[in-house]
Symmetry: C2
Subunit: 680 residues, 2 copies
């Protein structure tokens, strides 16, 4: 970009943000000119930034900096040493994902600051400005004045300009992300996890999150006043919330900015801001579908603990393996296979063995039987959040799986007894939040140890997803929101709007192991699931994950062979993804192209309201004809009164057709578009 | 109270709070039956409490408990061991205060809880229920299972029932309390300091605060959702926010509850919940008025630092001593007397000496001159928040003052460079918040060391006031809000509503050294103060402190001898106090009876609006007649256009007279009611 035009834009942007006492010192616009970031220093030498979109202020001048536990805060008395810009436009290929090729096109601004006061400490801030969002991070250069950096808290702010409605879950309340989403004015947010998604009156959508959360504490957002949000790092029992040695960089603070909810989801900002694959050849990472001994545990008809109800028996596992083999599922999860589930495991994970099965579960025999039937066991490590205990056994536990051909593991961090348990430098137990620096390190330790053994990892009660699957492609999914188990015993269970909330909040971070497909539509003691049967199918397309469970019991699938066919057919890896329509918390329709064929799949879900969204089949290949296998809500379907009403029908489809989808209250629709050979 | 009636009230209260899944296990009502507290355990054994006032829920079931850094959280799996109640009705005498005698009348409920799970830890919760409020605290009994208590955070919640407007300042933003007050819906509070004051649509006033903050971290309030507030303890660079050894008790969490703003201020809850005087004979603690070298420093016409503008010279100090002696002020403050003010003292207090004066200030000679003239120097210790450095010199510094007859000290904790600086166990510098456990200990250390030498203490940039003046009567005042200096250089300066906010928020905690009386009504560079001259006088009655500064320059007082007479006359110790009217942030009228005579004094202040509050002189003794010396806004007075317009007149007054006060925009009124001998 010409220097002159840049400065014109900057000046314009600055005038629009109208900030007194602060002078713009640098800035950059996105490649298409949609977004402009300006960096300023105020009369105290305090750095700030602001964002303008097409002439309209989005983020007013917002503070940058740090509080330190052992040194003066890094926040003011700065002067600009220099700034530089660069442009990147590249396309990279994902080993698996929502789309095969990802374009990474941005302009970057690097600002180098130096304190004018005695310490003369240096700090760099890097902004990457895309047409659909902004990422920025701090870089602590190597310097003798600030070698060991002990961060008390981050001072980064996000001063949102337009009055907005926000969708959010509270942070700092509980050691999990498993909340119903709040929908409130942004001015009523308390302290929230990210992604926090907001929409202004005229439809501008902004989601604040972070990318590449590595060796750092998670960013919570606390509302300071009005619509001004401030980073608040997840606390540590150790005092400093982050301890690092310079040089290092913080995670990227991200703002996805779009005209529509669909636009938010289509952004690849989070992935683009992560580092490329660090694992080399990852052809051993394979998206898959799985079944397993799980829903029965949440129904309380079987138990994790040993005894007469014990679910994880050799015999029971073999039944699931047979079912998987017969229906084309690669994986079989068995929870409760190992010693430690007896007693109050919620309160104390120290009894867990990660290598010793219960006596009624012959792990080696089950694994061998699975291999024989072409199925892979999915490993399971519930830690109860006692990560020190888990790490003591981690290598042995993964070695065991590797020996048995178990190439994926679901981990668990239920930590309800007071937090994640680790050991301090003094060996004493410390309770930590599930998303502090300790856990960001722990998860990467597990993922990299697993990668050495070609094992995929799927943590439940995890740290939030910040796109690290790009760097560690064996980190295939995670939980990190209310999943299907809340429909077994949740009080309340997930409401019909839940998944339409998830797509535009939690799912902006990355894949979720939601475990859909409970076609029986009943939880523990007959509690109804707030969904139609067609919606259960649609979730396989709507809630992205490269691993997808068919969560219901085999005997329930036997009752619904028609709908079950879609679960058998739907892929878990995609060449492309299109969000056709949607509003946060109301409804969404997503089409995805199979990675390995020319077929397309579509999922549409609604909240408690019936809807008839119109879609145009412009994603289909114009050179082909398609046979659409439609799984739609019956005309009388309603999650409350007639949840199992479904129509399964086949109709022709072609590029450009306009369809109206009929979604029942609490309903959905799933479609497989089977491609014929090209006509030309 | 009869057991039967109690349980009827409890059940009623519980039904009104309508909480599913929790069972009331104990409860108690206030002596007059106005307030009822119920304690519950839910189906997870989680304790909660609720408050009902005259059949109306005020606080819905609210969580209790703790997160610990090194042990499972103390929050659930509890069972009730037993509960007990007792009643107290006593009256105690203050050595100084807003009123001489304080009635302490409450019913107490003690609840003993024990974990059903493996650890079997015990926790007691004590509620003291007054007709005008509730205090509760946790008591950690001596027990081997939980001897060293390391608190990560407190889980105490306050679920406010009625939609309310709140007055609050943000917490966690800056190492001070010096903010303009926010007035927002309670549902828009972010994170706030206490006292947080709220008013519901039908006029119920509730203020949440704490009492007896001893060896503990300050309670911030964070809004979790809706109107549910949660305690969030001020952080520590050391990890645990509180480290204590059992047995110990937490500070009292307090709710003052009244039908009016006046009722809130009239409550003695905070004082009553503090421990009695721990210092023995405190006859040496004397309320006083003072002048000093201070306003000139904020005007920047003189400097703290040495050089040609240095304010604290021997000669200058003697002029102030002469002025004090001639006008009946006991104290003379001299800031900038000691070495350390040169250079960037805001960023680093290590240069401060607390015993060595600058060469142009002969401390011994000045102190001797003061004694000769019947005046006492007021000591000054600005620490720049480097408390480790201050503590190193503390005893020497106080010994020096004691030797020189300096019997009060103003301390300062400007800590803008990143927080309070202390040293950890390893000797390394740690930056802390101004209101964490470290500072609660530091302030009591200074106060008790000073008491040994019969020295009064007045900290600026302090920890908040929680009524500890009852236990340590030499802790005479403190700052802890925006004071007069913001009218010198504040951007913006204090608005006209500021003091009407303070009375019903900050002042609920205790005395503030606001330093009123700037009759010139101009700040630095001629910036106007947003007050009439009459309002400056009214502040001596409205903003309570046993030490009051006449903050303006002597030459300015020479210009306004009429108004100055009120400042000369007004006492600083009171036999009684009555709030006659007021609304938070709008206006307030307070009458106080002199501790040492039969005279009454009245102050009334308004915000930017003119008002004509009617008052009834029912506080006057019906057996006496009075001559009222009235200092009222002139008919044409207005802080913007005619701030110096004042009428000083004398009129007769007697018990039962109804007067209408005329307050100009930004104005006020001060009255001295001089009592004649009784007529009977």
């Amino acid at each position: 970009m010409h220097r002159l035009r840049l400065w014109f834009l900057l000046t314009l942007a600055w005038v629009l943000c109208g900030t007194a006492g602060a002078e713009p010192v640098a800035g950059v616009s996105s490649p298409g000119g949609t977004l402009t970031v300006t960096v300023s220093l105020n009369d105290e030498g305090r750095p700030g930034y602001a964002i303008v979109r097409r002439g309209r202020p989005v983020i007013a001048e917002s503070r940058l900096g740090f509080l330190l536990t052992d040194a003066p805060k890094l926040e003011r008395n700065f002067e600009l040493t220099d700034s530089s810009t660069r442009s990147v436009d590249e396309t990279w290929e994902q080993p698996w994902g929502e789309r095969r090729y990802v374009r990474n096109k941005f302009n970057e601004l690097r600002v180098r600051l130096r304190e004018k006061s005695a310490l003369h400490r240096r700090l760099e801030i890097v902004f990457r400005v895309y047409d659909d969002g902004v990422g920025f991070r701090y870089e602590f250069p190597d310097q003798s004045q600030l070698k060991q950096v002990n961060i008390a808290d981050e001072l980064t702010e996000f001063a949102v300009v337009e009055p907005a409605t926000a969708w959010w879950i509270p942070a700092g309340e509980w050691n999990r992300y498993e909340y119903l989403y709040n929908r409130t004015p942004l001015a009523e947010v308390g302290q929230a996890h990210t992604p926090l998604t907001m929409r202004s009156a005229d439809g501008l959508h902004v989601a604040i999150h972070e990318a590449a959360l590595v060796d750092y504490s998670s960013m919570w957002l606390r509302r300071v006043a009005g619509q001004r949000l401030k980073a608040s790092l997840s606390p540590s029992a150790d005092g400093a919330r982050v301890r690092r040695t310079a040089p290092f960089t913080t995670p990227w603070r991200t703002l996805q900015i779009a005209d529509s909810a669909a636009g938010l989801y289509m952004s690849d900002l989070i992935l683009n801001l992560n580092e490329p694959n660090a694992l080399g050849d990852v052809s051993w990472v394979r998206p898959f579908k799985y079944v397993g001994i799980w829903w029965s545990l949440h129904l309380d008809t079987e138990s994790w603990a040993s005894g007469p109800k014990h679910g994880a028996t050799t015999e029971n596992a073999k039944l699931y393996i047979d079912f998987a083999a017969e229906n084309g599922f690669r994986g079989v999860l068995v929870e409760g296979w190992n010693k430690g589930w007896d007693g109050d495991w919620f309160a104390d994970g120290s009894a867990f063995s990660f290598t010793e099965p219960y006596s009624d579960f012959d792990l080696a025999a089950v694994a061998a039987y699975a291999r024989e039937r072409g199925v892979h066991l999915v490993g399971h490590h519930e830690t109860s959040g006692f990560i020190a205990h888990y790490e003591d056994q981690l290598e042995d536990a993964l070695d065991l799986y590797a020996r048995l051909g178990i190439d994926s593991v679901k981990t668990g961090y239920v930590a309800d007894a007071g937090g994640i348990k680790t050991r301090g430098a003094d060996g004493a137990i410390r309770y930590e939040w599930h998303d502090g620096q300790v856990m960001s390190r722990h998860h990467i330790k597990v993922v990299t140890e697993a990668a050495k053994r070609q094992i995929m990892v799927n943590p439940h009660e995890p740290i939030k997803d910040t796109g690290l699957r790009r760097t560690y492609p064996n980190w295939v999914a995670r939980e990190g929101a209310r999943g299907m188990e809340y429909n077994a015993w949740g009080n309340p269970p997930n409401p019909p709007e839940h998944e339409a909330n998830l797509v535009f909040t939690r799912m902006l971070g990355g894949p979720m192991d939601f475990t859909p497909g409970v076609l029986s539509l009943v939880g523990r003691g007959g509690q109804p699931i707030q969904s139609t049967i067609a919606k259960q199918l649609a979730l396989y397309v709507v809630i992205y994950s490269p691993i997808q469970m068919a969560a219901d019991l085999p005997e329930n699938y036997a009752k619904y062979p028609g709908p079950f066919q879609f679960i058998r057919d739907v892929p878990v890896d995609w060449a492309d993804t299109r969000v056709l329509n949607g509003e946060v918390g109301d409804f969404v329709t997503i089409a995805r192209k199979d990675h390995d064929s020319e077929d397309w799949y579509l999922g549409s879900v609604t909240d408690e309201n019936a809807r008839r969204p119109r879609i145009t089949l412009d994603f289909l290949d114009p050179r082909r004809s398609y046979s659409a296998q439609v799984y739609r809500d019956g005309d009388d379907a309603d999650w409350k009164t007639n949840a199992h009403s479904i129509v399964i029908e086949t109709r022709p489809a072609k590029h450009g057709d306009v369809w109206e989808l009929a979604l029942a209250p609490g309903g959905g629709q799933a479609i497989r578009f089977v491609a014929a050979a090209p006509t030309q």
